[in-house]
Symmetry: C2
Subunit: 191 residues, 2 copies
């Protein structure tokens, strides 16, 4: 997605070889017009599926998923919650996830009443790096016996393992831009 | 907002005298068509102001703020971050907030580069109860010397102190529905 590459070149900040900061337009301040274009692009890619639910995880995926849902006939968005507490309340799907980025463990939680075998699900998230959160969401969708259409990712860092891990789980991953390197303070794209 | 009252009557769950659960349509599963109507209503209320930024706080305010921003000429949304760590990195506004609901203390953080004295700000959030998070956001807007138009709240619980606290700070608070009691397992509205 050329528009997004341009924006990353213009406003993305390379913090180090691993971290690309896009808080100017994607995950702290959010450019709503750009995110609408992102939503349209996800629709174009996944248009052949009768998606019934879009699922994301708090916090930075929520706005993107909500805007995108407007291009999928306003299907409901469910955002999975992160919790560090061990006590899981109520009738929920939950998985234990280890975050490499923040060196912590947490639970990803989604209420059972909102997802079942009749659902056709699209996952949406801002970043794919190590794939920890995303693989947690996939586990939940599979436990619910819902149909998983794939994952729509805004920025994939292909020099990290997540994309490979998720595709090896036999899940379709569609990333709007792929970043292959951040070395020398330069963002290099995959294609 | 009649549509919202009807939806609360239909799908809201009264957990106890203090807690109204609206996770079926607002803050876990999100009804995108309904949230568009909420966005339009905020626009109607605040139409006389040239708002330049909408500010909310993670996580459940984000989707509402992003959808609403579309009715305010796609102004940028900034979501303040919650952090429990004491180390504040970088050039940020931050305030210390005590949450009564979760009996914890956390910092509300917003990057200085996204807010300054030239901004006219609308705050948006899903609930107003004790007003802790909202008063944190107000402190930040005032520290930035931005102009604060007011706060658009989806559901205010008028039997808790938040509304009074925030209005005493000389801030315009507009709540789409006001819940005055949850006693006897019944949602009673203010008007």
């Amino acid at each position: 997605m050329e528009l997004l590459k341009e924006r990353i070149r213009q406003d993305g900040l390379v913090i180090d070889e691993h971290v690309l900061k896009v808080d100017q337009f994607l995950n702290h301040q959010m450019d709503i017009a750009l995110i609408n274009e992102i939503g349209k692009e996800f629709r174009r890619i996944f248009k052949d599926h009768d998606i019934t639910k879009i699922i994301t995880i708090e916090a930075s995926g929520i706005g993107i998923a909500c805007i995108a849902a407007q291009y999928f006939n306003n299907v409901p968005v469910i955002f999975a919650k992160k919790s560090k507490s061990i006590n899981i309340e109520g009738d929920v799907y939950w998985v234990d996830v280890k975050s490499y980025t923040h060196k912590q463990e947490y639970n990803v939680i989604l209420s059972k009443k909102f997802l079942n075998e009749n659902d056709t699900v699209l996952l949406i998230d801002d970043f794919l790096a190590n794939g920890c959160a995303l693989s947690g969401l996939i586990e939940i969708v599979r436990e619910a016996k819902a149909k998983l259409v794939g994952a729509g990712i805004v920025i994939e860092k292909t020099f990290q393992e997540g994309g490979k891990t998720i595709r090896n789980m036999d899940v379709r991953v569609e990333s709007l831009v792929k970043v292959k390197s951040l070395k020398g303070n330069v963002v290099e794209f995959d294609d």
